[in-house]
Each structure stands twice: as C-alpha cells, then as structure tokens.
C-alpha cells in the first residue's frame, strides 16, 4: 500500500533534468515526497515539519557527489538526518549494586508482558539472573500469562495473585530478588492510558518505592499520530529511561519511533521482532531509518547471512559451481543454507528495491516451491542426485510418487537445473548471468 520513498523520489527526479547542483526546486519537489512518506509512516506531523526544515537547509546548494544521482543524494541526506533523529542505540544501565530494577510501562496491548519475558531471557543470556514480577493485577489472567511465560523460559516469577496493591507486590518482588540473589528484577505493570490520572499515580508509587534503574516505555510500532502524546505524558509522570518498540515484525513502518524519540529525547533500546521469546533485538538507528524510508534492511540481511551461512560450505559450492561439478546434492545443500535465513519473502523484503516485489509475492509461493524442490531431490537416490542424466521416465515416476509431486514438476526441476549448469558454463567463459536463481522462482 505504501510506496517506498526511494521509488517515489526517483520518479520525481526522472522528471527533472540531471544537474550538478541540487536546486531549490529540486529539493522542494523531493521533500514533498519525503514529507508524505514520513506522514504515511505515522511520523508525527510536527516532527515531520521540523525534520523537513532541517533536511532542506542541508540539501539546498549542495554539490552533487560523484556517482550519486540527485535522488540518491537527497535520500542520503534524509537517511543521515533520520539516523541522527533516531539517536544513539540505547543500552540498559545495569550499574550499581544488584538487583537492578527494570520497570515496564505502556498502554494496553502494547506488549509489555511478552516483552518482560523476552527481556528476562535476553538478560539471562548476558549472564544476569532475572526475576519477573507480576504487578498487573487488572487485566484478567495477566498474572497467569507472566507465570506461563516464566515457565516456558524457566525464569522465576514473583506473583501474589490479583488482590494486593501493585506497588506492594513490586516492593516485595524486589525484596525477594535481593534476598535470593537475583541480579535483575523486571516489573510487569498493567497497561494504562496516559490520561488516567489514578493509574499514572500508581506508576509513580511503584517507581518511588522500588527505585528502578530503568523505566522502559513499551510502544507498539503501529501506533499513529498519538504516540507522541502518550510518550510525552508517561515521560512527564514517571520519567522514562528508554523505549522498546514492539511488533516491528509486522509491516508498520514504525514512524512512531522517530516522533517519540524526537519529542521525549528518550533513547530507543530494543525492538520486538516476533512472537517467539528470543525475538528481541538491540536497536540500530541506521536500520530503522532504512525501514522507515522503505529502503529495505540490507544491513540486517548481511549480518544474518554472516551469522547463519556456513562460509566454507558456500565457498566450496561456489568452486564446484564454477568447475561445473555442481550436483543436485550441492543444490539441496544450498537450499537448506538459504532456509536458515528465514522465509524467502522476508529475505526479499530486506533487499532494497525488492520489498515491493516481496509484498506482491505471497510468502507461501516461494517457500512452498522451495519445499517441493527439496522433496523432489530428497526422493532421488544419491546416484541420481550426482548424475541427473540417468533419470529416465520410470525413475521420474518413482521420484514424483515419492515426493508427492508430478512428473511434470520433476521434469521442470531437471530442466532448470540443466539451465543453471549452462549458465555456469557461460559464467566461466566470462559472461555474467543476470540472476542465478532467476529461472527457479
């Protein structure tokens, strides 16, 4: 639904002749698009206004850099300015004597309880001994939810049911942490509206009585223009030390992050990126900036690839590819390496220019196809995988039956594999094929 800003800008600049210096008219035309893109990403209107002003001042009259089109140059400035607005990646302050108290606050449904579990898990991985404290006595079964989460990740939960006042529970929880030698106490508070005076006073009470090192506001990445007011109000009442942006794994651009950061000056510390309890990532301003602009998240992809791919295997496969000794067995291995990176659609989304394609491409299509290809190869004998030439029609029928596919599909895979080998031959001769896997998907 939302067009990537980079595409939009490109279109604006296609209309303007390529000039060496960015003129005022060029910049204004581009900034109109930037403004719309930011508004559509739910960046607060006022924040957009001041942001655009800053970019404009920097952009006008700047010498065009070598190798950059005017569009790219504006994007670069916008990107840099966004990164600056998003600020430094925040780290948790766990200095001083333990237990360090961390208090999670936010609106209803922003994801506090789940985040509490994620944070506990993460801190334990970093060598801490966390205790969760269930201080949401309002939402039905919220205490139970934290208990269940605690069991799942084997982290103890201090809970007293729903009768005692939340500040009392919090205090006793911190006492328990101190007594039993836990190093971090994470207080899960009830979701509340920033305009609910009584409930906000309760947060102040919890804060005053437990002296948290960190008070983190949990913000839904999908929040609209109101995000600023919410964060501002929480900050004024309880004094925030950081933000956690949740549900970033959806397709919300997360413009709320910019607004909240700009208005409160509170650093963003983590991003929640999935339903699994290990899906909590440290915040990287450059990546989020790219995402807000719809520029893809190539950095994350690269990092992911570096983590997950077995480099030796890849090099080996590349060598064999070039030698022309690449077999279906190697191909299967490559597919499995690729799968480690996550669903194909998600990968595509991280590549600039591909995210629109990824959105059009239903996730199941590609992943299902990958699975079918895998099934077909699995149903071959090792000999067939190494030497597909021996696959005659009777073998094809067997493979199709074994993999739950059709002979046509087996044929298609074999044909594509042959084409790939052809491409490789060309590659060796110095001609670069456009897209290695192009034929397969």
């Amino acid at each position: 639904m939302f067009e990537a800003l980079s595409d939009r800008l490109q279109r604006v600049f296609d209309k303007i002749s390529q000039r060496g210096v960015l003129t005022e008219a060029d910049v204004d035309a581009a900034l109109r698009e930037v403004r719309l893109a930011l508004l559509e990403a739910d960046v607060n209107y006022k924040v957009v206004k001041s942001f655009i002003k800053r970019v404009r001042e920097r952009a006008i009259g700047q010498e065009a850099r070598k190798g950059l089109t005017p569009a790219q140059q504006v994007i670069k400035i916008v990107h840099e300015e966004l990164i600056r607005t998003l600020g430094e990646p925040g780290r948790l302050d766990l200095s001083g004597p333990p237990p360090h108290v961390i208090m999670l606050v936010g609106l209803q449904g922003s994801g506090k309880t789940t985040t509490a579990g994620k944070l506990a898990l993460r801190l334990r991985k970093e060598g801490q001994r966390p205790l969760l404290i269930a201080a949401d006595t309002y939402r039905p079964a919220a205490v139970k939810q934290l208990e269940v989460l605690g069991r799942q990740i084997q982290i103890p939960v201090h809970s007293e049911g729903t009768e005692p006042p939340p500040p009392d529970i919090a205090v006793r929880g911190v006492q328990e942490a101190r007594k039993k030698g836990y190093t971090v106490a994470i207080i899960d508070t009830a979701g509340r509206l920033h305009i609910d005076d009584q409930m906000m006073a309760e947060l102040e009470a919890i804060r005053d009585r437990t002296q948290p090192k960190e008070i983190l506001l949990v913000v839904d990445a999908m929040t609209g223009q109101d995000a600023v007011r919410v964060a501002d109000e929480f900050n004024k009442r309880v004094g925030l030390t950081g933000l956690i942006l949740t549900k970033v794994d959806g397709d919300a651009r997360g413009g709320a992050a910019i607004s909240v950061r700009e208005v409160t000056g509170v650093p963003i510390k983590f991003l929640g990126v999935g339903e699994k309890l290990d899906a909590l990532e440290p915040f990287h301003p450059d990546r989020l900036a790219s995402r807000i602009l719809g520029m893809g998240d190539i950095l994350t992809l690269i990092e992911k690839a570096e983590q997950e791919l077995d480099r030796k295997k890849a090099e080996e496969a590349e060598r064999r590819l070039l030698e022309g000794t690449f077999t279906l067995e190697d191909f299967l291995e490559q597919l499995q390496e690729m799968k480690k990176l996550g669903p194909l659609s998600q990968l595509l989304e991280m590549i600039p220019g591909m995210n629109r394609l990824a959105r059009q491409l239903p996730a199941e299509v590609t992943d299902k196809q990958l699975k079918r290809i895998e099934a077909i190869i699995f149903s071959m004998t090792p000999e067939e995988r190494r030497n597909p030439r021996i696959i005659n029609s009777s073998r094809k029928r067997r493979i199709a039956r074994g993999s739950g596919t059709t002979v046509q599909e087996v044929n298609q895979l074999l044909r594509q594999f042959r084409q790939m080998q052809q491409l490789m031959k060309q590659l060796r001769k110095g001609r670069l094929p456009g897209n290695l896997f192009g034929g397969l998907f």
């Binding site: 939302f2 139970k144 609209g224």
Partner: protein, 317 residues
C-alpha cells in the same frame, strides 16, 4: 444531547459515561479543527493548517488530501467566503465518507449466529468479545464463547475470567491445542447441549503479515461454514484506535484473508484521534460496527456514523 444518539439502545447512564470518554476525541484534534474554522479568511495558511489537523487525527494522508481537494473545489464553486460556512461543508464531506452501513447480520433471525473475531496482537480482542457478549446478553440473546486463542499464554484463562464475570459460558481446550478443534466443539455445543443464539469465537492475535497464521483463520472459517449454514455470519476485525496508517493495511490484509464484515474500534477513550474510521470506511468499505471506550464491560456501543460526526463537530457552547 447529540452524543446520546450514538448509543441508541444503551441506558442513559451508559450513554453519559461513553459520551464522557469520547470527549477526549472531540476536544482533541477535532476541537482544534472547530477553532480553526473560527478564523475569517480561507487563505493558503488555513488550508495547510486544516491538512495538518486532519492528518493528526489519523485520517490518513490520501483521504485527507482528497477531502481537502473536494472541500476547496466546493468552496470555490459555491462561492463560500466565510470559514463558518466551509465548516458545514467539511462536516458534510466527512459524513459522506462514512456513508450508510449495510444492515448487521446480528439482526437477522437464525438458529445460531456465528461471530468470528480477529485482529493483531494487543488490539483488544478478548476484552471486546466480553463486551460484545454482554451487550448481546443484555438484549436477551443466549451467548456462548469459544476460546480459540490457544497460543498466547493465559489467553484462555482471560476469556474464562471474563465469562465468569458476565455470566457467559466458555468452551475451551488445553493451551496449545488446535483452534479448529475448539471451534468445532464450540459449534456442536452451541447447537446441541447449550442451545445458544450466538457463538463468538476468540482467536489468537496475529500480525497480518504472518501467512501461516492467516491460513489458520481461513481454516477456522471453513470449519464454521461446514457446520452452520453461511457461517461465520459476521467476522469482526478488532482495531486499536491509536493505530496509525498501518490500520489500513491490517484491514486490507484481513479482508483479503477472511473477508471481514465489520470493525470493532477499541481504546477510543485514550486517543484524541479516531480519524482512522474515515480512512477505513473510504478505502476498504468496511463499516465500523462497535466502539470500545473503556475498561468496563459496559464501555461499548454500536457505532452510528452520523452521530459520530455530529459529536466530533459539536461546538461546545
């Protein structure tokens, strides 16, 4: 009082409480809009400010631009000079955006009405279901709830607690079990032993970008359709009123996957916005059916577009 029209069938007390909670919306952005129209001249600055205010109400960039274009065109064509007159035109245009909602399937008499409730994580599904169940119960319906959110920790307990509070039975399996099986059993129970009029199905929150989870919803729909003629009769998307432009994408994706027939807009008490109502109606043609305005089970009302716009534009005297 104009706002009490919003809540046609609610008691006077309910209406007053809900009117109070909507005050935030009225006094917020829409209050600023009213103030803007107090000024005399319709100059460029005026239009820019109006655009800013509409966008800040989460009406959406596209809808805002169209709204302003139409308004400017009409102002010119009809030779409107005074801002106060333009204000009436804006109200008309906004009402036009909302249009008339098709009749709700809840009204049609049938043996068993099945209502499927879907939405992203944290939008307020379970609470809304409790409110809807209570609302229907107050109107003499026998309601049964199906706890098909078997994924989130303690979601089943949450629904059960609500069920106890409002005196409505909940059909549930173990956490982690197949939601389809829960729905199957709940329908059987609703038809046979419990003889319910309405079955409301609570589903796990899911981001609309998760293919497999959307597929699971389709499976639930299929199970409904197999057991009850034309079920589910209503599929409601629960939407958090503080959500920004992503709400549109959510609505679109859920519509594609499970053909939502209406929206329940929650947490309207906390937001100075609510403008997303216009964007959704305009871009997707899905009507807002109910609004949630607080934590109490009675903080819930049928949505009446006309009264909603009236309320937003009502000038405090």
């Amino acid at each position: 009082m104009v706002l009490s029209k919003l809540f046609k069938r609610g008691s006077q007390e309910d209406a007053e409480r809900i009117e109070k909670s909507l005050e935030k919306t009225r006094r917020g952005v829409f209050g600023h809009i009213a103030a803007l129209f107090q000024q005399q001249e319709l100059d460029d600055e005026f239009w820019e400010d109006l655009e800013a205010l509409l966008i800040q109400a989460d009406i959406g960039v596209q809808t805002t631009e169209e709204l302003i274009d139409r308004l400017r065109a009409r102002v010119q064509k009809e030779g409107v000079k005074r801002a106060a007159d333009a204000y009436a035109l804006l109200k008309e245009e906004m009402l036009r955006l909302l249009g008339e909602a098709p009749p709700s399937a809840l009204e049609t008499p049938r043996l068993l009405t099945v209502v499927l409730v879907v939405g992203v994580n944290g939008s307020g599904k379970t609470t809304s279901i409790a409110k809807l169940a209570y609302y229907l119960k107050q109107r003499g319906k026998k309601v049964l709830l199906a706890a098909a959110d078997t994924f989130r920790a303690a979601a089943i307990d949450q629904l059960r607690l609500w069920g106890e509070r409002i005196g409505v039975e909940v059909i549930a399996h173990q956490p982690g079990s197949d939601p389809g099986a829960v729905v199957y059993d709940a329908i059987r129970a609703a038809q046979e032993s419990r003889k319910a009029d309405v079955l409301i199905i609570d589903t796990a929150g899911r981001l609309h970008t998760k293919y497999n989870l959307m597929k699971e919803l389709q499976k639930i729909r299929t199970i409904c359709a197999r057991q009850v003629h034309r079920a589910p009769h209503e599929t409601y998307l629960v939407l958090d009123a503080t959500t920004g432009q992503n709400a549109l994408i959510q609505a679109k994706k859920f519509k594609e996957a499970v053909d939502i027939t209406g929206v329940i807009l929650t947490k309207l008490d906390g937001t100075a916005k609510g403008g997303i109502v216009f964007a959704i109606q305009k871009e997707l043609g899905v009507p807002v059916r109910f609004i949630g305005t607080g934590e109490q089970v009675t903080d819930f009302a049928e949505f009446d577009p006309q009264a909603f716009v009236e309320a937003l534009f009502r000038q405090d005297t």
